[in-house]
Each structure stands twice: as C-alpha cells, then as structure tokens.
C-alpha cells in the first residue's frame, strides 16, 4: 500500500520533480567550481594570505594599495584597454575576409578551412609561432619581409613601445578567423530576394553592404562582439608565452598581473591577487550584464 502511494506521489509530481533531478549534478558541479569561488575570491580579497597559513583580515587595504597608485596595476589596466579596443578590429577584418571568400569557385571550401584554422591551434602555439615570426635582426621572417621594402629591422617584442601591440596582433590572427567563420555562416543565410530587390533599386558596393547586408548579419555581429570582448579580457596565454609580462613589465594585463601576484616567484600574495581579480571581474561584469540583457530580450521575444 505504502509503495503504491509513494509511486503515485512521484507519478503525480513527475513533471515538477524531473527537471530538478536532471539539474542537480550540473548545478552542484557548477556551484562548487564556479559560483561559490567567485564569492570566495571576494572574501579572500579582504585578507592577506600566502595560500597556506592563516588569513589575516586587512579590510580594504588591498584595494587601497591597488587603486592608490600601484604602477603595475596602472600599466595592466591601460594594456587591458588597448586589448579591448584593438581586439575589436577582428570584427571588421573578419567581415572583410568573409566577403572576400563568399564566392563559389573551385576549392573554396578548402580555402575557407585554411583561413579558419589559426583559430583551432592553441594560443600557446600561436604565441610561440609569432614570437619566432618577430625574432629581432634578420632572424625573424617579419624583418626579412619588411627588409625587402627597406624598413626595419624591428625588435617588436623587445621594446616596451611595441611589445603589447605585437602580442595583440598575434591574438588578432585567430580571433579574426573566428569572426570570419561567424560572418561566413551569416552570409549564407542572407535573404537572396532582398539582395536582388536592392540590386534592382540600384544599390551596390558599400551602400548595399551597409543598408541591406549588415542589418541581416546582426546576430553574427553580436556573437562576434561577445566572443571578442571576452577573448580580449581573457588574454593571458599570449602574454605568458611571448613576453612573460616584459620587457620591463610593459605587456602585463590584469589577468597576467593577478597570476603573477598570486602564484609566482615573487611569492604567493593570494589576497592581493584576489583583489586584482575582483577588479577584472567588475570590468567584465559590465559586459556580461549587457550580453545577458540582450539575450533576455531575445528570450522574451521568443515566447
């Protein structure tokens, strides 16, 4: 008797209970490794901590030190801004290449794959590849190429004035490939009738692109924007591999500086590192909020 009432309770509530049963493992893992650590980092940022011993409560000291004239922090922050602005170039460059490749000629599929494939390679390898490409003197291919035009030689990664730009250029390579593939997919679904109609009305070239094509590519542009912003703020691998923050600390960004403070030969300053992470988190939160808001608008529209 009791089993049958038990079963009927489950049967009666099956549709209400099932989603939670399916969600529990995913939510548990995600909470343990992502959601709770965010709050823990906030907590740690109010302490001084070497990662092993006791935490010492220092209140807002870490933030005061960080925002009150830490030169390394300032450099990192400005470099993050450079990354953000210049990384966005991947979007128009990707669009440009996708327009160039959006043809039906023999072998074009292979061309598209080959153009895309920098994105598939790990950033560590891309970083290494570019650091050899930039080698100073006549060792680097870049100097050999510009040498033909009577320029150079440059020591891109060796000079504090150019190193960050050199790294961003390396980062733009796979990111442009990513944006290109987004736009190629978008271009595939552009409504041919609208294009023909606009053509009959005499639209062509950049006017056609701007008024007819780009509005239809809006979803692709949005995703390109999201992944590029996130990618710019996550830049770590390139810097670690190509310059390790140098020369003279000129290529640090917040993500790298945080890592350096928390886990490097300079000692384990977890509290200070956590404070840097929190600042980076708030910068990102602005963008995350905007992305979520846009997606939420879509969700409402879909209902």
């Amino acid at each position: 008797m009791s089993t049958s009432t038990h079963r009927s309770w489950y049967k009666r509530n099956e549709i209400a209970v099932t989603p939670w049963l399916f969600l529990i493992p995913g939510i548990a893992m995600f909470a343990l490794y992502v959601i709770i650590p965010i709050f823990q980092s906030f907590w740690i940022s109010f302490h001084e901590w070497d990662g092993l011993g006791e935490k010492t409560w220092v209140g807002l000291d870490n933030y005061e030190r960080l925002l009150g004239g830490d030169r390394k922090f300032e450099t990192s922050f400005w470099n993050n801004l450079k990354w953000l602005v210049l990384y966005l170039l991947a979007i128009p460059m990707g669009l440009f290449i996708s327009l160039f490749l959006n043809q039906k000629v023999f072998g074009i599929r292979l061309y598209k794959s080959l153009f895309f494939f920098p994105f598939v390679i790990s950033q560590v390898v891309v970083g290494l590849v570019f650091s050899w490409f930039y080698l100073p003197g006549d060792q680097g291919l870049l100097n050999n190429v510009v040498g033909v035009f009577g320029l150079g030689p440059y020591n891109i990664l060796g000079s504090p004035d150019t190193a960050t730009y050199g790294i961003i250029a390396a980062g733009l390579w796979p990111q442009t490939a990513y944006c290109m593939i987004l736009y190629l997919t978008g271009l595939n679904s552009v409504d041919p009738e609208q294009v023909e109609a606009a053509r009959l009305d005499g639209a062509k070239g950049h006017r056609m692109l701007w008024h007819v094509i780009l509005p239809q590519l809006k979803p692709a542009t949005f995703i390109a924007f999201v992944v590029t912003i996130i990618g710019a703020l996550r830049s770590f691998d390139f810097i670690a591999v190509m310059t390790n923050g140098g020369p003279f600390g000129s290529t640090r960004v917040l993500s790298f500086y945080m890592f350096e403070e928390s886990l490097s030969e300079f000692g384990f300053r977890m509290g200070y590192g956590a404070a840097i992470a929190v600042v980076l988190f708030f910068i990102m939160l602005g963008f995350i909020g905007y992305f979520l808001w846009s997606m939420y608008q879509d969700e409402k529209g879909a209902r």
């Binding site: 969600l23 995600f30 000629v105 590192g273």
Partner: protein, 282 residues
C-alpha cells in the same frame, strides 16, 4: 548573394580573384609556414644564421623523431588525451541533462538558472583561480589529471548547457507530448526520444570541447606541474626551456602539440562550425 557572384562580374576580376586567392592565403598563413620550414631544418642552419634560406639538409624525420623519442613530449601528449577525453564525456553528459531540464520544462527558476550558467561561462578565470586551486589542494587532487578534469567539466557545463538547451528548444515539442500521452516516463523520454535527436548537438559539442580543453593553458599551469600530469600546452613551454634556441626542435614540438585539434577540425569540420556558429543566424 553578396558580394556579386563571380560569374556575373567582369572577366578581369574573375582572373584576378583566382590569382589573388592563393596569394592572400599564403600571406595569411605565413607565420605557420615559417614554423613548418623551421621544423625541417638542421641545427647547423640556425648556428650559421641561415634562418630563412633554403634548408641545407632535410631533417624532418630527425627533428620529429627527437621530439617523439628523446623528449617528454609523448607523455605530455598522452596526459592531454587523458584530460581531454574524460572532460568531453563528462561535460556532454552533464549538459545534456541540464539542457533537457531547461529546454523542456516550464518551472519557476528556469530562466534564472539558465542565465546563471551563461553568466558563469563569461567570468574571468582569475576570479576562480585562488579558490579553485585551494579546493583542488583540499581534495588532494592538486597536480593530478583528475583535479584538472573535474574543474574543466564543471566550467564547460556553463557553455554546454547554453548550447544544449537552445538545441533542445528547437526540437519539435509535440513529439515529447505524444510520448507523455502514451504514458512514457520522463527519464525514458530523455533517453529514447530526446537523446537520439540530439546527435548533431552532441557531435558538435564534443569537437568544440575537445579543442577548448586540448588548448587550455591557464588551468594547466594553475592546477598541475611537471610531466606526470601536465598537458601538452604546458609541456611545450618546459620543452622549450629544455631546448632553448633549438628552433628546429621547438617548432617541431609546437606542430606536434597543435596537430590533434587541427586533425579533429578537418575531420569533423561540419560539426565544428555548426557548434561555433550557433546563434550566428536566426
């Protein structure tokens, strides 16, 4: 079609396009081509300053043989396999469940949970770094592949849930309702109705996660050290300090490290691009 299809353009442009295409491709891939050339050169070319001239001898087998038989590279590669494959399986299983729950059922908290997964997926790694490292140490999993796999599964669940949920939402809902009318229990609906329809999504996600995890560097250096558990992305940097300035070996090593995801991409191209461009069209 935009831009104007080639057939409808002038003869001159048609020819110049065909000529331009390979030239632009070579320029685009120049850094890679350079590395490929490095990797087949003999050591002597670098000491003699012959960086970009014709290789004085063809040492491909020699260089790659050294990478495979005289270094830690095979161990690192194997670690990468042992980290990547379980992560793919774990993340795909977890997220097909969460995606099913969020895509099929209407309940209070559906959207907030969904948005929690998306938001968590965008968070900077650094805000997780100290607590996750601490947690992994506490579990006794620091410097183990398991520790790395657990974190990767958890983090990737964010992106995978977004992907799976949107995919399931686009499935024909009457199918599920029909099964319910037949009296099929909910978890059977998941296993026998929804899961078979999710094959393209499962394939796309698997290739994407494989690439993401294979290429991960940050968590590899935060949660592991040394050739016992580090994946190849981290291994390549220590490989490079071992062979400082031995460009022929360093470039051969890099190519080896980059190859698996590249092979995966070319084999599963359709799925890869379908996964990556999800949402790029309406």
């Amino acid at each position: 079609m935009f831009p104007t299809p080639l057939e409808k353009t002038s003869r001159q442009w048609q020819i110049s396009y065909q000529v331009l295409l390979p030239i632009v491709l070579i320029i685009w891939l120049l850094p890679l081509i350079a590395v490929a050339i490095f990797s087949i050169k003999p050591d002597a070319d670098f000491t003699n300053g012959n960086y970009w001239g014709i290789p004085s001898s063809f040492e491909m087998f020699n260089n790659y043989g050294k990478v495979f038989f005289e270094s830690d590279m095979p161990r690192y590669l194997w670690n990468s396999v042992l980290i990547t494959i379980p992560t793919v399986i774990g993340a795909v299983i977890l997220s097909s469940m969460t995606g099913f729950a969020l895509g099929v059922y209407k309940f209070k908290g559906n959207l907030p949970i969904f948005f929690m997964f998306i938001a968590g997926n965008f968070v900077p790694f650094q805000i997780l770094m100290v607590p996750v490292r601490d947690l992994t140490l506490g579990l006794g999993l620091y410097d183990t592949k398991t520790g790395l796999v657990l974190f990767h599964i958890a983090f990737q669940t964010g992106f995978c849930t977004l992907f799976m949920r949107n995919f399931i939402r686009a499935l024909p809902f009457p199918l599920i309702e029909a099964a319910r009318v037949e009296g099929v229990s909910e978890w059977r609906i998941f296993l026998f109705v929804v899961l078979p329809l999710m094959k393209p999504a499962l394939a796309a996600l698997s290739v994407l996660i494989f690439t993401f995890i294979w290429n991960d560097y940050f968590w590899a250096i935060v949660l592991t050290q040394g050739p016992d558990s580090q994946p190849v992305t981290a291994g390549i940097t220590s490989f490079n300090s071992q062979y400082r300035a031995a460009y022929h070996l360093m470039s051969a090593g890099s190519i080896v490290a980059a190859l698996p995801p590249v092979a995966m991409f070319f084999l599963m191209q359709k799925h890869f691009i379908a996964g990556l461009t999800l949402g790029a069209v309406k």
